[in-house]
Amino acid sequence: MATDQITIRRAVNGDESAMRALWSAHAPRIDAVVRRLVGDPDQAADIAQEVWIQIFRALPSWRGDSQFSTWAHRIAVNRTLNALRSLRRVQFAEVEIEEGSATTNEDPDRSFVAESIDEAVRQLAPGARAVFVLHDVEGYTHEEIATELGITTGGSKSQLFKARAKLRRLLAHLVDVPTPAKDLDDVASLN
């Protein structure tokens, strides 16, 4: 969305209505990435507030040479990862993702019926979730992720593949490609 430069100038000058307009236009997208990276909805809400304060603090440094949404998005990712580090002492190191290592107090069966990829992503361990969201959702390269998380590109790839493998299982109902045998089952179930 092209954001009116005048709105940003007004917001820089402390105009609350301009700040509100910026927030209204961009919060749905900014908050969505925060939610995905954080997982826990309550924590995500707190961190989203921090993100927005940070965006408004940094607003005078926005030079208009990039899309405001892109610029704000980077701040959101960066701030969220920092918050995760300090809140949970999350280390995005190259650790093996163990089955069931994700903290979830949901009914274990729920993951299999989850219709939203966000719900499945929430079940990943924080480090794997960050890599998956940054790479497969946000389009970051492994080099960028390595820099952002302080890990190696090899570590980023390794976490990504493990995250994909787990999500592939959690979201089987959404991503399964019918095999010939399954096709027969499908036909049978239709009859």
Binding site: R9, N13, E16, R20, A45, Q49, F132, V137, F161, R168
Partner: protein
């Protein structure tokens, strides 16, 4: 035929090229091929999630107390008060600039000081600090306040001393030229204020331009024939 591909490799092949051996296996193994396809679907779903937006996690109103506490934003009512404050306090400081020009032109037509009096009138006025000496905004405000008072006193003095010959040498055309210039100045500063409503310098210029414009209209009314009226400019 090699054994099935590892889960890592199946996931990697979404965006990596299979080795010759992997390609050979995939060409013959429906199960691994289906697994790679499932991972592709997963990654497509993830990419679609990027453009999806949800209801915000919080509200802007929840941010407002912090924004105000950090002085990142200004409460609308306080903002209006501040604008009025700027207006009343500031008008003079730079009205000196605009108004001063007018007075200069007036006094050129009708010298108000006795000839031979070499003491400039400013010398008798309280000293005004130079910009470089401002230590803080209070300092600057006090100077503006003093300037305003001086300007008003000077204007009152001039009005008292001379009520008839003020505008000798200034005809309607020169008034109109001045009005046109002031209109441009007011429009330019008004446009700039829209982007930087709290900029004190812009506020000063804007208010000064408006003040000088009003004064000029009055003066024009005074020198124009009574049967001609200024409707607008």
């Amino acid at each position: 035929m090699m054994s099935h591909l590892s889960t890592d490799r199946l996931a990697a092949l979404v965006d990596e090229t299979p080795s010759a051996a992997e390609a050979l296996h995939l060409s013959a193994c429906a199960s691994c091929t289906a697994e790679v396809a499932s991972h592709r679907r997963l990654v497509r779903l993830a990419a679609q999630a990027a453009t999806r937006t949800d209801a915000p996690l919080s509200s802007f109103d929840a941010l407002v107390p912090r924004l105000r506490a950090e002085e990142l934003s200004v409460e609308p009512a306080a903002r209006r008060r501040r604008m009025v404050m700027w207006g009343s306090r500031i008008a003079a400081g730079l009205t000196l600039l605009v108004g001063g020009t007018a007075i200069g032109r007036v006094s050129a037509g009708a010298p108000l000081l006795p000839k031979g009096d070499e003491a400039p009138i400013v010398a008798e006025l309280p000293k005004i600090a130079q910009p470089a000496t401002f230590r803080n905004t209070n300092d600057a405000m006090q100077v503006l306040s003093a300037s305003q008072q001086q300007y008003q006193e000077a204007a009152a003095f001039l009005a008292a001393q001379d009520t008839t010959s003020h505008f000798i040498g200034l005809n309607q055309t020169s008034f109109q030229a001045r009005l046109a210039a002031l209109d441009q100045m007011a429009a330019a500063t008004r446009a700039a204020l829209y982007q930087a409503p709290q900029d004190p310098v812009l506020n000063q210029y804007y208010l000064s331009a408006l003040g000088a414009r009003a004064a000029t209209l009055k003066q024009m009314g005074a020198v124009m024939p009574a049967n001609r009226q200024l409707v607008s400019y």
